[in-house]
Amino acid sequence: MSRYGLFICHCGKNIAGTVDVEDLTKRFEGEKDLTVVENYAYLCSDPGQNMIAEAIKNNRLDGVVIASCSPTLHEPTFRNVAQECGLNKYMLEIANIREQCAWVHEDREAATDKAEAIIRGTLARVRNAAALEPIKSPVVKRALVIGAGVAGIQAALDIANSGIEVILVEKNPSIGGHMAQLSETFPTLDCSQCILTPKMVEVSRHPNVKLYTYSEIEEISGSMGDFSVKIRQKPRYVEPDVCTSCGDCAEVCPVVVPNEFDMGLQSRKAIYIPFPQAVPAVYTLDTEHCLGLFPLACAKCRDACEIGAINYDMKPKIVEEHVGAVVVATGYDLYDMSNLGEYGYDRVADVIDGLYFERLLSASGPTGGVIRRPSDGKVPKEIVFIQCAGSREPERHKGYCSKICCMYTAKHAMMFQHAVPEGQSYVFYIDVRTGGRDYEEFYRRAMEDGVIYVRGKVSRVYEEGDKIVVRGADTVAGGPVEVRADMVVLATPMEPSHGVEELVGKLKIGCTADGWVREVHPKLRPVEAVTPGYFIAGAAQGPKDIPETVAQASGAAAKVVNLLSNDYITKEPIVAVVNEDLCVGCRLCIQMCPYNAREWVEERGVASVNAVLCEGCGVCAAGCPSGATRQDGFTDAQIISAVEAMLGGSGEMVRKILGMSGDGEKPKEEELDAEEPVTVLK
């Protein structure tokens, strides 16, 4: 007869505070195949783990149930203990009596009953479990980084410096992202470009980095350790290896359009380089504004280019690359100001957002660093900054705090006070949040330098003559307040980079409701995306400032290096398995599989499983009409016996309700209505 062990954890008071652990232990003592029944204060502690190890060795246990917290937390811990003691680790299962029981109930007796039911179900799973072996597959020792802002650049450099080849893909003509647009950075006020551009150059020259700019991910397939990526290179119509960025083409180009890099405060031509320090230093022809790639319409740039770098016949190119890991560093964009009707962006020219203001502050910006208002170029004497413009307002805009706005607004207002000492800046705020070393001090300095903080929301912004009237509430002084300003800067929130939903759909990684890329665990696994093999760097995950972005990018890079340092990866053997004798070759599973893991084997006339691609979702096992596909770790026998044990009812009934009978017979109405003894918790 098989021998099983049951270990129940108190988890301090987390479990024992609600569940009567001693009583629970007694309920299982004496069961004939339960050789060991124990409880302990903290099973995950060293002595707790030793206790389990000793019990497994001394009693030669065939299976173990740990009744404790969620398996996402300590399943690996306990399974390693089992493995070390010679017990196949898939013969150990966790019964979650903390998150799914103790934490959500108050009634001690009912919670103890429920814990018993959960344990009985898990015991049934273990009694029907089979020893499994991890699946091994080779690792492609190259990494893909999507997005080349500061996050992507940092991640790519760290990975490349470990000797691993990196494919860095950027959708824009130049790398650098939003950080390249910024003037000074808080709290030290060092120049953004001065610290970024060396990194841009370094990454572009690194022997281990293969850079694809003006390129997007077309398609990605495969799984952790072996992804196959198709990259679409958009045509620049300028040969990057030939172009010397002399600028002769732009000089003759007759089309003038607003320059996106300068937020439209300056113009560029249809053939352009986004900014002087762009990497690669290559011109790009923007077909949306070009008079047409039709030499009869206009071929001025081609004629002006003496070295013949311009090629109107360039076509989009698809390149295929193989990588073992992917870093998502897609960054952010700002929430559109035109969503905020009350702040007058559509009607008042001198209402701008933070990125506009950065360009006005920037020494290399359109005004050479002199703060001038867009409408008439005058230096404003009074500026109003409105914080939380569209954030922390779940009913109408974004519900979240955009985190960086308090700091960059303090910086903007302080820089204005420095540049225009006789001027006055006002900041309307709800709260000032300055978490971070030296951040609070920075905010204090802004106030000392003359910035006036007004606590309250702004209700209306409108023009009156030459002035902009900002009406709001001062909730400290109590009452309405009006400021007559020359310029208004809105601290609009960060939102996920525009167009990222499409990419996220291709990668099949999870997102939050707001569209940020989700991590496996917010505290313990913050740089891993939910799908294995994907890692997150920077603001793709949520609002972040530069220090945090860079730290996370290095974290993601370390994880990638960690993964790619293995020759093989092992994968959980929770996959579909086919009994080829039963497979009738209907190929339904091939159509159903979302991961392309089911493959047709022509010579045997059966559908097999590619265990490396299989994610163990169970769709094919549930859908297989001939019962040929089994889901290891979740076999029918395991599921039915577990449900049966939990309900204490008849297995036949469960089988019929779940539609697993295989005999195709529907349960009769009266059977479904029959009352089964079900324990209902209050």
């Binding site: 905020l340 009350e342 007058g344 209306r460 409108y462 009156e464």
Partner: protein, 312 residues
Amino acid sequence: MKVGYYPGCTLKGKALALDETTQLAVELLGEELREIPDWTCCGATTPLTETKIANLIAQTRLLIKTRDAGYEALVTTCPFCFSTLRRANLSIREDELKRKRINTYLAEDLRQRDYETPPPPYRQYTGDIGVLHLLEWFRDTVGFDRIKRTCINPLKGMKVVPFYGCQLLRPAEELAMCDPENPTILEEFLEATGADVLDFPPRIDCCGSYLSVAKPEAAMRASYKILDAAKRIGADAIVVTCPLCFFNLDDLQPEMMKHYPEFRPIPVLYFTQLLALAMNAPVDKLGLESHKIDPRPLVEKYSVNISREVPA
């Protein structure tokens, strides 16, 4: 779309000019807008009450009458009627529980009444009748372009400012007519009449609303700020959509002149009065004589006595 006209109580009394000029303007447009037969109260401020059903009864009865008269939608000019009807209708359409409750109640109500000739059996109301404000009907069904073509007497040179009031645009997610923070519909309408529309930031301020009953001096102060701003930017008239805005902005002006010595009066016009004028309606048909601040000296300047032929 077959549309019925719902004037509501105020337009048959205090705001008669709004009703008459609406009918006149629609006629000059070559459209037909017939009153819903046997119409009843819109429910007025009942949506503000915290009841399960009473705040929907009047609205639903009226909407059922609209449906039974063969109309697909109802159009009204009073922002209060518009707000209460549109919101009640929306909640019947989207809230299954409310829909069930109101239908159960009205069916039972019909059954228990002692009619000489029994009425036809009760038909469930599902919220499928459209509720439109006249401005919306102008914009979405008639089209401002067509209005522009029909205005044979464009009011070029008349400097007007729009005033929205509080009921027309909010709550935005329910009324869904225009961005309440940055509305444009009234401006677009006024431009179609040929008038010069001035940028008027207080256009979405509060006129004082019902405070004119409880605390008249507060309403007067609110209205004064609006009128004073209009005067200061050089407007000839202020154009409103709401009878209550009209009352506060027009009727309170004589009192304002006593309170604020520097205050100079400014005529207030309903949007339909302006439209009828732009379509060359005779001045004596615009109901201007009842205004406290007589707009006739202004209006007569822009009235042209030409023979009228309504374009097809």
